[in-house]
Symmetry: C2
DNA sequence: TGTTCGATGTAACATTTATCACACATGATC
DNA sequence: GATCATGTGTGATAAATGTTACATCGAACA
């Protein structure tokens, strides 16, 4: 397990001394696909770093409607968790395991001092912010500028990209929830994509061509 | 002028010594309403702090379609500028003066060392990120979960809030651009809001009741 | 005063998306 | 293989939004 942490952290630009600290202070957490890692209710004070697997960040409104924002892949962390914890604010999002994942949970208490002390950690944090802003803008773009058929296709491609697999194991219903639309709409548009030979459909499974 | 900077920075939680540095190193910039402060083309390496007035942050796609994201008010800064400059990435947004404004432009070169050195600056920066994430999520909520009539009304209320005025001097066309819809749609919905006695309309001017 | 131009109002229609209803397919289980 | 729960396909219709076209209004100014 230590090797895994080592691999992710050493591969990043974290300096060895800091990597040691992070390894000493954090704890390992395994989550199974579908499980919630962070929710508005949870007041965890840990920053999750993805060692293995894939997390997804979802936004939810008061009525329980959801929308998918972006994925967190190996080596990445949840920038919003950092700000929320530092500010002690309630989180306004869910983080859910998209695949079985291995996380390294780092208590927030040390963040400030690391930011002060390590240039490489400042870079790590600012990188995280940069990437998250980009993803957020990307999410906004999709919703604002694209029609549902394009949004859906983009969603499938993003998922392929993040998971590294051409196969997506989801029902139409699940996809509809992530795009905040209805199952019927997704079924219709997927059928259309199939006719255009961009995908192939099976039960609970979509294959990207 | 120095008084203005003093007022904004001293009122914030920036420690005096840092405030002095910021005042020594930055430069004053005045912009008139409508003028562009930051655009994807500009590769300015300065972080703008709003001393007076109001800026708005807009997202634009390749086809030139726009959408309003959020306002930057007095004492606030553009978090996305920080990350972009640090990462040396192209900015993916426009910052435009919504009102005549006075800005304090701080060269990015000093940011990293200030973050390392001053706890209060770390707080300032993390606050900025937190606020921006919130505003961004808020923008996403509007676009994803609200119908156009509600989005429009929310937009008017936000504008009222940010400007501190019940009067909005904009044409339907301008509003339509910020919401990425058409003038006709805005006219229709504004008329509706007028019938519901939530607003009063005049030429180039909307009054919130 | 009349002209001009940008802003606003509104009808008619097209397109996109949402919703409802129901048929049918598939895989699991007994 | 009969039963059942769940997933998918599709028509019909409604609602929301976008588009086109044109009328009217009001301010500015010749």
């Amino acid at each position: 397990m230590q090797e895994l942490i080592n691999k992710v952290l050493r591969n990043s630009e974290i300096e060895p001394k800091l990597a040691d600290e992070i390894m000493t202070i954090g704890r390992l957490k395994k989550v199974r696909a579908g499980n919630v890692v962070i929710s508005p209710e949870s007041d965890s004070n840990e920053m999750p770093i993805v060692l293995e697997g894939l997390l997804k960040v979802m936004r939810q409104d008061k009525n329980g409607n959801e929308i998918f924002l972006y994925f967190l892949e190996g080596g990445e962390t949840c920038a919003m968790s950092i700000t929320c914890c530092i500010e002690g604010k309630k989180k306004a999002f869910h983080v859910v395991a998209e695949e079985d994942s291995v996380l390294w949970m780092v208590p927030m208490g040390h963040i400030d001092s690391w930011v002060a002390k390590y240039q490489s950690f400042r870079k790590f944090v600012f990188d995280a912010y940069q990437t998250r802003f980009d993803e957020m803008l990307n999410a906004i773009d999709s919703v604002v500028f694209l029609k549902m058929d394009q949004r859906l296709y983009k969603y499938l491609l993003d998922k392929k990209q993040a998971s590294g697999s051409f196969v997506i194991n989801k029902t139409h219903e699940q996809i509809a929830n992530e795009l905040n639309t209805s199952r019927v709409v997704v079924s219709r548009l997927l059928k259309q994509l199939e006719r255009e030979e961009k995908i192939e459909q099976h039960r609970n499974r979509i294959e990207i061509l």
